[in-house]
Structures are given as C-alpha cells and as structure tokens.
C-alpha cells in the first residue's frame, strides 16, 4: 500500500485545523516514531516553524498535538516538515470525550488501587491478630476485626463491582462465568466475617476477600489494556479514508469538499496521486490506479470510462472524472471497516478455558456445600454448626487458584513471545492458536515481499537500464519504481510524457526513448505475463524486455514446510490474478490456492472452513485481508502490514519473519499444556481441602494457608513456561 505523498495530503490538512480560544490546534497521526531521537526530531523540527507554540508527541499512540498561531496554511508546512524528517503524518479529528473502553480501563485501574490499599492495610491488622494468637485478648481482636471490616467492606463494594456486575449479567442470561464463583466467594467471606465478628467468635476473612480482588484485578486490567489496543482497528481505518473530495459543480467549477459530504450522483475530479473518495463510475479519463488497498492485487488496474472505481484506490497518472455511486460512508472501505467490526464480535463468542471451567465448577461447589449442610443436619449437628461448615466449604473452594490459572500462563507466554518478536494482542489468542487445524496465507506482501522487483537485471545492459531509469524516475507506477530501485538515483529524461495505461516517453542525450507495455511500443510480446513486464526502445534499436516479479520471502518456503510437517494443511487465498498466484503456490508446493478473491469472498471461504471444523489460522497483511483476519479462528499479521490488518489480527510479527509463526505455535501449545496442568493442580488442592472442610476440620488459619499455597503453586507452574 503506497502512502500518499506529503504534498497532496498536506493540502487537506487545513480542513482539520481547529480554532481554540487563543491558538489553533492540529492533531496528527505520525508513522515510524519509535524512540527518544524521534521525539526530539519531531518536536524540535515542528517547533522551529514560524507561529508554532507547542508540540507534544505521544509515543505510545503515535499522535502529535500541535498548537500554533497565524494562518491555517501553517498546517501544510507542519505536515511537509514531518514528511521531510521521515515521519509521514496525517491529520485527524480527535474523538470527543473518552471512549467506553478507556473509561473501563481507568475504572479498573482505580478499583485496583483501592483493592491494593485495602489489602495492604487489612493485612497489617490481620498479621497482628495472627501473631498475637493466644496472647491477644478477645476485645482487642474484635477491635482489629471491626477495623478490618471498616476498611474492607467499602473497598470490596467498590473494587468488586466489575466482578459482581459481570457475574450478575451472566446469571441473568442463564449462564455462568468465572465471575459468579468469585463474587460469591467475596460476598460470603465478607458476610461470614461480619457475622463472626458481631458474635465475637474471632474469625474473620476480610483479608482473603480484598486480597483475592486485588490479584484478580491485576489480571483483569492487563487483559483490558491488551484488548483496548486491538479494538482500535475500526477507528484506524477511518484515517485511510479519502478525506477531501474535489467536486465539480453544475457551473463547472471544482470545489474541495470533505469526503463525507459526497452524495450519490456527484461529479468528482480525482487528480493523479489522490485517493478515490467514494465508490463511483468513471465518466472521463483513462489511466492506471493502484488498487492494492481494495483487492490486494500488486499490478495496477486500468480504469476506462464506464468502469467502476472503488473508494481507497489511488489514481496513478491521468486525472479522472467520476460520478459517485454511493456516499463516502457507504463505500467499500467503510464496508471493510464494518466487516472487521463484525468479525471481531463473532470471535468474542469464543468461550475461554476459564469460563468453561467455571461452568463445571460452580454447580459442583454448590452441590458439595448443599450435601455438607444436609449431612451435618442428618447426623444431628446444631443448625448453626451445619451452616458454618457449609459456608466453610464454599469459602475454601474459593476459586483463587482456579481464577489465576489462565491469566498467569497467558502473561508468561506473551512475555516470552515478545522476546521472539511476536506481539500477542488478545488474551485468548494463544488458546485459539493452539487449536488450529489449517493455515490460510495471503500472497502479496505476506508470502512475497509485496513489491515488484526487476528479475532479469543481469540480461539488461547498463545503458538500457539507465535510459529506462531516467524515464521511470518521474513516474509513480510500481514497475517504474522497481526500475529506479535497480538503477539508483540519477537524472531525469527531457520532454518526458506519461501515457496512462501505456508507458513513458522522453529524450535521453538527444535520442528519443520509450518505455512501457508491449502494446504501447507495438512490440510483439509472445508468452510472459503482460502486467509483469515492460519494454524499452531507444531510438529505432531493437526493444529490450524488462521482466518483473514479486519475490517470495526468504523464509516462506521453510515456514510452509514446517507447518505441513505438523500436519496442518496450508492454503493460499489471494486477490491477485491467477498467473502470479499459481506461480507462488507452485514454488511453495501448495496444492490448494484461489486467486482473484474479493474481501467478502475471503470471508465466505474462511467462514466455510470454520463451519467445517477446520479452525483456520489466517496470515495476511493488506487492508483487503483485514476482515478475513478478524473472521478467522485466529490471525497473524506482519509488522509491515497495513495498520488496519495489524489491528484486526490477534498476533503481529515484528520484522516480517514468517518463521516466527512456528515459534508462536509451539509456545501456544506449551501454554495450553501448562493451563491444563494448572487446572489439575487447582483440582488437587480442592480434593484435599474440600473433605477437610466438609468434615468441619478447617480453622481460619488453615484456610488462609491453603488458599495462598494453591495460588503460589499455580503461579510457579506458569513461570516454568518462561524457562523452557
């Protein structure tokens, strides 16, 4: 996907300047900002511009906030400056207020702080009670317990709310999740403690209740943070939308309007280098467009009067006049954003191990506690003792260890993958990765480098290459760029002209030179792929053939072979034409491949695979892959991929090393094994502790030790994953 160049984007920026009370504000999203040097370069560079009052880069989000005085045009020079510094920037309108996700994250953080404060202070009191066991008189002990309750009860009410709310919701809809037993344990522990303290028996569990909430909130907060980043997908896509459209009014005047105002039937002018703002039909003009954003196809498409243009295509050479067929927000790119959102929702229906465990766990705990109550009553115990023992069973089965099982393993596994250059974006992605049965690859940019490369440079003499390069340096066409890449920088030909969909012609050292398609030069090209070759003719000499190809990544074959060794069938789904797809599939030994797929068709194919129980892993990089990435059972995107596909995928590979997929798969399977072991450990704890509680042998001290010990064992087992 080719970024627009600064000049054409900078022009639009004026529309995004917001006038404040005493200064103007501009918000920009910058790419490539990574380190301290980037902060200094960006902030100093922009601050040096006349009129700029303040610049602040947020490195975590890649956003720059600028305030300045003077004309709105300053916005244009700000963007141009950033571009020259190597940080392509695009203006955006910040969302008013906080998003619900931000609010939830802050709410959890506050709950975490309250629970931490409460558990530290309650522990302070509890430890003095434990240490003074046998020496402390009952009055002091009761005072300590009342103080603990005074701290713990408001804290539980505040910090426990996320669990109560979620548990209540799942009960209301007839299901059970892990939050139900957690809420129950916390409420019972508090209720029993109040009762005991009031009766003066001298056993309180306030410390256990707040400590449990504190530990669980840490996990919950980390999880929400991971998800907040993943959920940015749809919002980031909006930044790709063509933001300004050039509308031709009834009197023939061209007027720049925000893309959102384009209505079906409007006449639009799209100059070279700009994006098509809405789905439209070509009325006038003919020329190539870069459709990689829409179809994933590497070769440019040629549009003629009558053909359809889709929003997001980049016009490469000749100006086009279009008639809009849909409003901007109904156009294809908006459609893709909606598909991504829908895919993400469908995936959240996946039931995590922890919730599945809760489904089995809750009825068992209730049954056990009911049996205890009944049993003690039958064998003639006083009702008070029977109730106390039944509650003790509920508390000792408190799902401390059970609730820690999954988050502990996930945090350790994600940390280890991070070291291998793999970012895991959603907590349950690893669980899903361990369960895949097949793998689906995109071609362009995923298995291949994603750009044309001159394949037969050794057959072309230096003079021809230089002549071609002098023409190509003035063109945006992908094949021209490949020639420039092979030849390096240098001078440009004179009298240069570009024929849309044909080629370039000009004068080099007094001789006329033409470079373009076989048809443009009237050469008889037999065989070969017309879209992946070009011809050069100097004067009246014999034409020279330039062959281009999109080379496979070095580790593509190894990765595909490695996956197949593990019994995972691999498939190739591409939006590209049949020829290059078949070629790539053959080179990798893939027998199943499909070409010319639209985003919707990719989704349909993946849905079908999911329905057949093939649990596909999707690997892709382009905007057109994003909905498929969001739909697949689990998905991987490359670090160099489009922002939207990185946001839609569960895992992002840094440095584009495909072999990391194998590593991620191995670690996810190991993590799954650890989770299962942890469930077993938590169950062993219950098997030992529950009978003791049923027979009324559990003192508060024993309960406290058991609960902490089981949590620690589970944590240690999870940590083993970091070493192997």
């Amino acid at each position: 996907m080719a970024p627009l160049d600064g000049a054409s984007q900078g022009f639009d920026a004026v529309a995004f300047v917001r006038a404040g009370e005493d200064a103007k504000h501009l918000d920009l999203a910058v790419e490539n900002a990574r380190c301290a040097a980037c902060i200094a370069k960006i902030e100093d560079g922009v601050k040096r511009l006349p009129g700029v009052k303040s610049v602040r880069l947020n490195l975590s989000t890649g956003r720059v906030a600028v305030t300045f005085e003077g004309p709105d045009d300053t916005a244009v020079s700000i963007i141009r400056t950033l571009d020259q510094l190597g940080y392509p920037a695009s203006p955006y309108t910040p969302e008013p207020g906080e998003s619900p996700r931000d609010r939830e994250e802050k709410r959890l953080l506050r709950a975490l702080a309250v629970a931490g404060f409460a558990s530290a202070n309650v522990m302070l009191l509890s430890i003095s009670v434990w240490a003074g066991e046998g020496e402390m008189d009952l009055a002091t002990k009761t005072l300590m317990h009342w103080l603990s309750g005074l701290i713990a009860l408001p804290a539980v009410a505040y910090a426990g709310w996320p669990f109560f709310e979620s548990g209540g919701k799942s009960l209301k809809s007839g299901g059970v999740n892990m939050d139900v037993p957690i809420s129950l344990a916390v409420l019972l522990a508090c209720g029993l403690s109040i009762y005991e303290t009031a009766m003066g028996h001298g056993a309180a569990y306030f410390d256990a209740a707040v400590m449990l909430l504190f530990f669980l909130l840490i996990g919950r907060w980390l999880d929400v943070r991971l998800r907040a980043k993943a959920g940015q997908a749809a919002r980031d896509l909006a930044a790709l939308q063509a933001r300004v459209a050039h509308r031709i009014d009834a009197d023939g005047a061209v007027k720049a309007v925000p893309a959102g105002e384009v209505k079906p039937g409007d006449l639009l002018l799209v100059p070279p280098g700009e994006r098509v703002p809405a789905d439209a039909e070509v009325i006038e003009g003919e020329g190539p467009v870069d459709a990689s954003l829409v179809t994933g196809e590497s070769a440019p498409q040629t549009l003629k009067p009558g053909s359809d243009a889709y929003s997001g295509m980049v016009n490469l050479s000749a100006p086009l006049t279009l008639r809009a067929k849909a409003a901007s927000q109904d156009s294809l790119l908006a459609e893709i954003a909606r598909l991504v959102e829908a895919g993400e929702q469908s995936r959240s229906r996946y039931v995590q191990y922890a919730d599945r465990a809760a489904r089995a766990y809750v009825p068992a705990v209730f049954a056990m506690s009911g049996l205890t109550l009944g049993g003690w009553l039958i064998f003639g115990a006083a009702p008070h003792d029977a109730v106390m023992n039944a509650i003790a069973v509920l508390i000792i089965t408190c799902p401390c260890a059970m609730a820690l099982v999954v988050p502990a393993v996930q945090v350790v596994a994600c940390g280890r993958l991070y070291k291998h250059g793999v970012l895991v974006k959603s907590g349950d992605a690893l669980e899903r990765l361990a369960l895949i049965r097949s793998v689906v690859f995109d071609k362009t940019g995923t298995l291949t480098e994603g750009r044309a490369k001159l394949a037969n440079a050794d057959q072309i003499d230096a003079e021809s290459l230089e002549a071609a390069a002098r023409l190509a340096r003035a063109s945006r066409h992908p094949l021209s760029r490949a020639v420039v890449e092979a030849a390096g920088d240098g001078p440009v030909a004179d009298e240069l002209s570009e024929t849309g969909g044909g080629g370039l012609s000009g004068t080099v050292e007094g001789r006329s030179v033409r470079f373009g398609s076989a048809a443009f030069l009237s050469v008889n090209a037999d065989g070969g792929d017309a879209a992946q070759e070009a011809w050069l003719q100097i004067g009246e000499e014999a034409p020279v053939r330039f062959v281009f190809e999109d080379a496979l990544r070095a580790d593509a074959a190894g990765t595909v072979a490695g996956l197949r060794d593990q019994g995972l069938p691999c498939e190739l789904l591409s939006g590209d034409r049949e020829g290059p797809v078949a070629h790539a599939a053959h080179a990798l030994g893939l027998t199943t491949w499909r070409s010319g797929l639209k985003p919707q068709e990719k989704i349909a194919h993946i849905e079908r695979m999911k329905a057949d129980g093939e649990a596909p892993l999707m690997v892709g990089d382009g905007v057109n892959d994003a909905p498929a990435l969001a739909t697949a059972h689990v998905s991987v995107s490359l670090g160099s991929g489009a922002e939207i596909s990185r946001s839609a995928a569960d895992l992002v590979i840094q440095g584009d090393r495909l072999s990391s997929i194998l590593e991620a798969l191995r670690i996810s399977r190991e993590a799954k094994a650890r989770v299962m072991e942890n469930f077993a450990l938590a169950n062993i704890y219950n098997i030992i502790a529950v009978p003791l509680a049923v027979f009324g042998l559990v003192t508060p001290l024993v309960a406290a030790i058991c609960m902490s010990a089981s949590s620690i064992v589970v944590m240690l087992n999870a940590l083993r994953l970091a070493r192997s």
Partner: protein, 58 residues
C-alpha cells in the same frame, strides 16, 4: 497498648494519602504515554541554563 490508638489511624491516613495521590496521577493523564515518558529522559536538552549568561550575572 495505647500506641495502636494513634498508630493505626496514622497508618490508614498515610495509606489514604498514597491512594489519593495515585488517583490524582491517573486523572492528570500521567499514564497516557508510558513509552514516551521512558524515552524522554534520554533526550539531551541542555538549553535553559543560558539564562544566566544573558543577564550577565556571572
């Protein structure tokens, strides 16, 4: 024994102060750009000391 009558409230007040300080930091956006804060410390900006030279007090 009477010591705990003021020790416990003192501990609670100190803890509550810490909690209040934490709330203040979240509200004032100090966690919005953790990565940036970590990197900014590496920026060499030795500028501001110049003031003294300008006023000629040295």
């Amino acid at each position: 024994m009477t010591a705990i009558l003021w020790l416990i409230p003192a501990a609670l007040i100190l803890g509550a102060l810490g909690l209040a300080a934490f709330f203040w930091t979240t509200r004032s956006g100090q966690y919005d750009d953790l990565q940036g804060a970590a990197e900014r410390i590496l920026i060499d900006d030795d500028g501001p000391i110049v003031d003294e030279d300008e006023t000629g007090e040295r």
